[in-house]
Point group: C2
Amino acid sequence: MNLKQLSHMLALSQTTVSRALNGYPEVNEETRRRVMDAAKRHGYRPNPSARRLATGKTGMIGYVLPTGAAVEIDPHFVEFLSGLGDYARSHELDLVLSPADADDQETTYRRIVANRQVDAVYISSPRPVDRRVALLNTLGIPFIVHGRSEGFGFDYPFTDIDNEGAFHEAARLLIQLGHRRLALINGDDRETFAIHRERGMRRALTASGLTLGERHICSLTMTEENGYRAARRLLEQSEPPTAIACSSLIMALGVVRAVRDLGLTIPGDLSLIAHDDVFPWLKPENFSVPLSTTRSSIRLAGARVAERLAARISGVEEGARGEVWPVDLVVRGSVAGAPA
Amino acid sequence: MNLKQLSHMLALSQTTVSRALNGYPEVNEETRRRVMDAAKRHGYRPNPSARRLATGKTGMIGYVLPTGAAVEIDPHFVEFLSGLGDYARSHELDLVLSPADADDQETTYRRIVANRQVDAVYISSPRPVDRRVALLNTLGIPFIVHGRSEGFGFDYPFTDIDNEGAFHEAARLLIQLGHRRLALINGDDRETFAIHRERGMRRALTASGLTLGERHICSLTMTEENGYRAARRLLEQSEPPTAIACSSLIMALGVVRAVRDLGLTIPGDLSLIAHDDVFPWLKPENFSVPLSTTRSSIRLAGARVAERLAARISGVEEGARGEVWPVDLVVRGSVAGAPA
DNA sequence: CAAAAAGACCAAAGCGCTTTGGAAGACTCT
DNA sequence: AGAGTCTTCCAAAGCGCTTTGGTCTTTTTG
């Protein structure tokens, strides 16, 4: 059932039927009702390919997926995706993942823009002065950055959480509890979020006349294993930290394992705070010692990004507004006063 | 730069240019070279929307993504996706995720098929007599099932691993080591893979005159937390198992934690074997006690599914062939003879 | 009451590609 | 030399939608 057939059986022109269906004003309400009704009754669905060709709109949002043997898509991506899906579903948007060589995403971005394959795209895990941001800005396709980049001469639209504030608060709490040797187990420090977290922590330490030494900071991809290694490295030093802030719950898993292996206890020997992206399958309250966290749902962020993308596609949202979400600090059993 | 312009500047018809580019035989090799050359020089890329409309081919493979507040996309999905992406990238295929209400995926499948939004789709986490398989079979779109369904009156194409064989071998090893009380911590037993694993384990037990009692089997979604709970339930019984087979490394993490909390040791008090889907971020050899596993890379499976989908789209593969991959049994420190 | 404006509809021209059904010329064969 | 066969190319017809530029009524306005 296509437009031609439908309009023929209604004894109307394709023009009128098309307009009736798409809500254009120049059609009699009575006629519109008739058309709508017939369309529903016969299960008419406009062919998206044809519509695309005519309008250039695809009803899809795009994401360039870095791939390659060495590249792993991490759980954060998925959870974010879930949120995006939540919103997309209720608005009949589809998501196109375009796999690209991790070292050459630019070509793929150019392709999907040139081909008009999607109406908008989003970027995740941005770095400072991220080339993708600059590229999309010149390419002129609607986009949102999940996270932040820095150091451009222009603004761009983003949705981010207050990573700096979160880790500032976490460190401040630990300091108030008497800790003097703090350590940070961070994510990949080429990414902006990690830089912001470090910055927040340093700011809190500096304010109390403390510092974050080279030996007290680790920066690794966020896996359980890396969490374990980092913790061992930190805790086996001559002057080990008495408190650790950790960028991910997955790494925290490794930290807990290391602490146990070393025969130490939480929070007796070590206070621990980790950032919680709110994974449904890994909850800080269910750690052997319930974990204190800085919490922000990455899933909600996904839904929000989808929402803003939709708004940009339809022209409701414009300009380069960035939004920064506050982060909750949730205190549980894993923090305590510094050991004597 | 579109076909019209290109053909005009070559003083050829659109027909000839189109054919030259698409490798049709009825064009002079010399001409073809000229065309190819000009196309490359001017960066001509056929408009995919137009091509879609004309051919019906989209160059995309689809996946219906179950979403909803209660639904979590699990890490297995992502790792599978990585593999799919690896293949898709090198063949210029894109992946379309169509979010759908988890309880009504059927509508979405019908939509993407009716709309010709993708050339092929895949299904994951199938259950016995999975409705999606039956639906796609009648809808007539190329598809591959990752995993297996059962109990239809027809065949369908799938790629699966030998879950039954894997857990049969695992159980057999444990039995040979003298274990008599085995337990299984399984995934959601509505899914076929879990059923197969249980079946394999029972077969091994039966062969030795043993049984798998109701009290020695848990079936839960595969999270760390559920692994912990299951292990505690099993180990706090009056006659606890001396060996556990576990369906996932993530659950095994929880099992290890439970064992420790109960003051037990691996492999002294408990032997443990888990299935390893080969996540780059969680490796069995790095567990405190290196974990024995049944191993099969879910990432490779993703690449294989993409490959078969591509083959089906191009008509190279046909029919309902199913393939079952063998699973490795990798023995590490977490198994030992049964305690006296 | 004639002129202008508004309302309701339509025919046809795209969008940019693929593919059908030739046609013209070059080659072979008897 | 004429008939048949390749080879190589082209004009034009889709694919199914949106949108432009009208037309024909009906209503409003000075």
